[in-house]
Amino acid sequence: MSEFGVYEDEMLKRFSDQDVELLLSGRMPESEDLARLAPILEALHARRSSLSEERVSRFAAKAAEIAISTRQDRAHPAAPERAATRPRRFVLALRQKMATGLAAVLLLSGMTGVAVASDHSAPGDALYGLDRALEAVGVGDGGAVERIAEAQALFQSGRIAEAIAHAAEAVPAVEDDGLVEVVIDDQVEVEGELETSQIGSSNAADALFAAAAQVQNGDGDDESELVRQQVASMLAAMALMMQDTEFDGEAFGQQVAEMARGIGGDNEGEPENEAQGSADDGLDTADEATDNAGDGLDTARDADDEAEEADDAADNGDTAEGSADEGLDTAGDNTEEAPSGRP
């Protein structure tokens, strides 16, 4: 190990989490070594920019306008232009799945009032099955956006594995001509070419179902909390991607697949209860982490970082398993509206 590496590790041993937290909270740590870093952190803290009131007012007016506009859009949604003329591919797949029970359900329902009531039902509700059956013939179909909203409702009620499996239904099933239609903002449809994305989409669905199975079989509170955060991030990212006016089906499939594959895996190679022992104990594991860390990471520095985290993880006997936050990071590709869409 180089002189620098040895020195850094020596410092690492002297820094307790409690002392580090004191310093990062703007208080004086007990360690003199840490206290010497106070000026550099103060300089970093001072990077917060000040704002002019004129800028604040300008933004507030624009934001208020946008918020009001969004509310009005929600209250009076425009009819989708293509909804009546072209069925969605993934709805076609759903129709096939539900064809068996559909006739009986339609016979039992028969009233539009029931259709309206069931359209707002969520998984677990008595009317939910009817809601799905009616959607299968194009009545009250909320499409992928509704699937994600339902997945989020399932997640909120603690049914995480079901939420993941439900999210899989939002992944467009591209089976014939390579086109996918996705509902955005509950009302507008965009259509995107999916040449290689057929693979990406089915991979995404497969990865989601695999993640659901893994979560179903998971154990341990610590693991559950990690999974909960990962699933929350993934569902939020899926919802945001669908709102993107430049929705890219291929990127969507790939990113969802990546996020799904990350669920339940300790990608950080870092235990919650970090050991304070010698980092050298874990060198072998750190090397293994370095070997595995190149998966999707941008730079060698990040890969080094994975190894660093794994170094600590090894103190507790954990094994680092490769890339870290690429799921969430790559989810940022299409998470938001195009900047040019609005002033």
Partner: protein, 184 residues
């Protein structure tokens, strides 16, 4: 954050309803840290990117549910992703030059500017030697003012990983100061 839970609920509802006072309060509270975070992480136009971030917040606030802490995390999740998008669009990594140029462009007293620039240069020299993840964590903790939990949410990491990264970052900074003669 400045509001307190009960006040925050009112502010959030008012934001959703389109009240300018509420948006001004949110912007005053968060825009400075967001701009600072973006600047420190290599945004070429941190103020423009901040505007982009907050317009996204305005467009999506109707879907947000949660407390004040969650809201702060949510805003920085958007900031972080917007920054990643900006980097991808530029097709390159954040550079030191951009950070310095952004700093130099700020107005103020010439002498204090010179002192600030010295500190900034030293800070940046030390900061540049950290890994990307370590820089993310320190910027989110010190500039954005996030907790370990919030930082973990923004970066999609576990809290233990964030704690390890910040310890590593500080150990690396100490090494830089002691062995490379960086003074602050």
């Amino acid at each position: 954050m400045a509001f307190g839970e009960e006040a925050f609920e009112s502010v959030l509802e008012a934001c959703k309803a389109g009240a300018e006072w509420a948006w001004a309060a949110v912007y005053r509270d968060l825009a400075g840290p967001v701009t600072g975070y973006l600047a420190s992480r290599g945004s070429a136009e941190p103020e423009d990117t901040t505007s982009e971030v907050f317009l996204k917040v305005a467009r999506n606030v109707s879907n947000f549910t949660g407390d004040e802490s969650s809201f702060r995390s949510w805003v920085f999740v958007i900031a972080h992703r917007t920054l990643l998008d900006e980097r991808r669009n530029r097709g390159r990594r954040p550079s030191t030059a951009e950070f310095r140029a952004e700093t130099a462009a700020e107005g103020g007293n010439v002498e204090s500017e010179a002192m600030d620039q010295l500190v900034t240069d030293e800070l940046q020299a030390a900061f540049d030697q950290l890994t990307e993840s370590q820089r993310d964590v320190l910027a989110l903790r010190m500039i954005a003012g996030l907790t370990v939990e919030q930082t973990a949410q923004v970066l999609g990491k576990r809290e233990g990983a964030v704690k390890a990264l910040q310890r590593r970052a500080l150990a690396a900074l100490k090494q830089i100061i002691d062995l490379e003669g960086v003074t602050l």
